[in-house]
Symmetry: C3
Subunit: 332 residues, 3 copies
Amino acid sequence: MTGGRVCGDENVVLSNVAPVDKALPGELTFLSGAKNYATHLESAKTTRAAALIAPEDAPELPLPSLRLKNPYMGLVKALQFFFPEEKPGYLIHPAAFVSEDADVAEDAIVGPMAVVEAGACIGSGARICSQAFVGRGARVGRNSLIHPGARILHGCEVGENCIIHANAVIGSDGFGFTLDNGVHIKVPQVGNVVVEDNVEIGACVTVDRATMETTRIGEGSKIDNMVHIAHNVQIGKKCVIVAQVGISGSTILEDYVTLAGQVGTVGHVRVGKGATVAARGVVTGDVEPGSFVSGFPIKPHSEERKILAALRKLPDLLKKVRDLEKQLETKE
Amino acid sequence: MTGGRVCGDENVVLSNVAPVDKALPGELTFLSGAKNYATHLESAKTTRAAALIAPEDAPELPLPSLRLKNPYMGLVKALQFFFPEEKPGYLIHPAAFVSEDADVAEDAIVGPMAVVEAGACIGSGARICSQAFVGRGARVGRNSLIHPGARILHGCEVGENCIIHANAVIGSDGFGFTLDNGVHIKVPQVGNVVVEDNVEIGACVTVDRATMETTRIGEGSKIDNMVHIAHNVQIGKKCVIVAQVGISGSTILEDYVTLAGQVGTVGHVRVGKGATVAARGVVTGDVEPGSFVSGFPIKPHSEERKILAALRKLPDLLKKVRDLEKQLETKE
Amino acid sequence: MTGGRVCGDENVVLSNVAPVDKALPGELTFLSGAKNYATHLESAKTTRAAALIAPEDAPELPLPSLRLKNPYMGLVKALQFFFPEEKPGYLIHPAAFVSEDADVAEDAIVGPMAVVEAGACIGSGARICSQAFVGRGARVGRNSLIHPGARILHGCEVGENCIIHANAVIGSDGFGFTLDNGVHIKVPQVGNVVVEDNVEIGACVTVDRATMETTRIGEGSKIDNMVHIAHNVQIGKKCVIVAQVGISGSTILEDYVTLAGQVGTVGHVRVGKGATVAARGVVTGDVEPGSFVSGFPIKPHSEERKILAALRKLPDLLKKVRDLEKQLETKE
């Protein structure tokens, strides 16, 4: 199933998967390649588990093991096997409201108190959970999962195999006003949001619709909880955006960009392909492809680290300079 | 309709409004006065659009144009014209729950799965979208729009012509406890929130009710997504609060204050009329009216910029001081 | 009722509780022991209130007073007395959806448009408000209050006497992926969240379920609005977490920890018992029990304050060092 190499007894029967220090007899466990690898390896010698997923190059172990280049992929497959997704016993729940002008695939699921408005389109195998909302003319692609309370507002599109977590909002109005005699006049936000295939969007995320045209989240991008994405933002393919990031209007993230937790961007900047912005950074200008930047204003991460280290010496430096000044004065 | 001056053919028939580089034949486009003005002007020479909204002082252009002092106001009007708000084909939807003790105007709209509790009052022309909530004794004023999943909790008031975006929460409890023998005892939060007229509140915003009395958001203020407003905060008229700002308890913002993205305030401070706090600033004390401040702790923006520039020289400065010390030592 | 000592007329009849400068004749007011104590004391001399709650050691006052060691506890009791919680006139509302396979206590309340799925368990005296969600196999303990739009997702547990505010999400998936040939593969998140007794969780908070096992929020902890708690986090007992904090995966907070507003933590760190992290701090490593830390990276608060003070002298310091260099040059 996982394509790895088995070391030891091939006929072990397994009942569950659990961490190495918690697994019970009969369970499968795993050795991650992560930073706690050494500790895990130690635990593996005393685990009660019946078998173990391990990196290919792990030392010999006292229990049958499945060797994989990427043991995490083995864990993913084991978790999928032991915890298959549960489907409810209904398709369109009688307590849902689905407009007769909506186009819902025959095998799609719509939970109680969910709303699917006129002109909306729900693809085959998609699931609109309890109390979720799919607005007028919005589309949810095949096999996508819209969790309870998530809102796909009018005219927005979610691709195939996407996951939109609870209470996320796709398609709120962009924050756009023009001043007319000291009064903020709302610029109508008439664009939409397109979420491409294989995207995951966290709980309580907000993605604003474009003023005109489209706010876009590229194929395979993964967005953590409570991220704010403003109007007209363009997010490339396979980006990773960690919790509580805020992306200002018209920002462009090229493909494979990573924004760590609580990062912010000013508007109208471009973050180049494969660039990473470290946690809490503020993207104050364009970022070179492939670079690793941090701080406020943004700068190469190595420079930021030197500055942060130097800062701890600053109070002492003030004293030193005062001393130097005195010494020079004395000499004069 | 927009009150501007027409240059060129007055009889052009227009079908849509779109950005200058995307407009199709027969469409209206616009030249903004913003930072990309030069680029836009260049695009205007080759646009396929049939007509253009431009600033009064723009150069002569190869297509009919409407000249306005504030071309954005022309864009606003064009967007309102080409994208009129769609009203649903119902008033109180049969799948809504409206208490018989609620007072809902004859022409108000209440969407499916929305809840309007006893004693609530919904004004003429107001719209409570699908799955929104208006609690016991709460009020929503004339022509206000409450988006899907927004919660106007018991006793809170929303004025006229307001927009409350999806999944926003108006009237959650303030975060108030008193320690009694090492245990945090909840201080009941019995006040409310008043949102005055013409206010817009973004998706997933939370506004806490006052402990006693009222948390207030002043007339015409605009609040972006995911802003947190704590109990007893007083926000003046026509303030602008950008995404992910956090405002601590009992903070006072006077009129016309701007807080840029991800700003925080400590509690019990006053931000003076017309002051601006730059992005990520932390308001650690009172802010003078009309000032432009930033950083943590808060200081004049010009000072903060000098500090940030100086910071990049700090690692080098450490070396220089070490050199100076050595030189002085050698001399002795 | 409050256990204090009465000074003056014991037979005053009171109709409400209000702040000292706003109270009307016949109302009760209070003198807090907080930072505005002196101002409050002055107001107490002219208040129209009929009686006053005051600290034991307050001076003699011109109106009857109730003397308490912790006057806030008196305020809590007065607020509870004058503002008793209103219960709706139904138990399970006809517009709720409760699975016939759910176990709902006889005296529990379930509001309109709420959903309680199969296998869920709602304890005695608990209240699931309008449009709230309790998923498959989830549990809500005795006397807990789940506000409108809050989501207790499948398999998660909320203890007794808890309050979960509007639109909070308990049990969203952790943000876990493994790279397989440049593609992010989702690691199934099959654990849950356990919220112990007496916990309060703010509006729009998100708590992710553990990858395996449990994300835990300890007894009596209080969490403000819009806090993000990642998968596998362990929060101890009686912690206080202020608004917009982000806690990364597998972080451990021991008991009595305080995280002030907008704090962030990197993953896999431990914050020791009773430690406090000041607002906006970034917990970049383990924190000693009982310590008071701040900044990014985290350091003793006293050190951070010295650095912030020194920073304001940095631009001037650059000039001074340049001068010193010149002086030395001249001397050579």
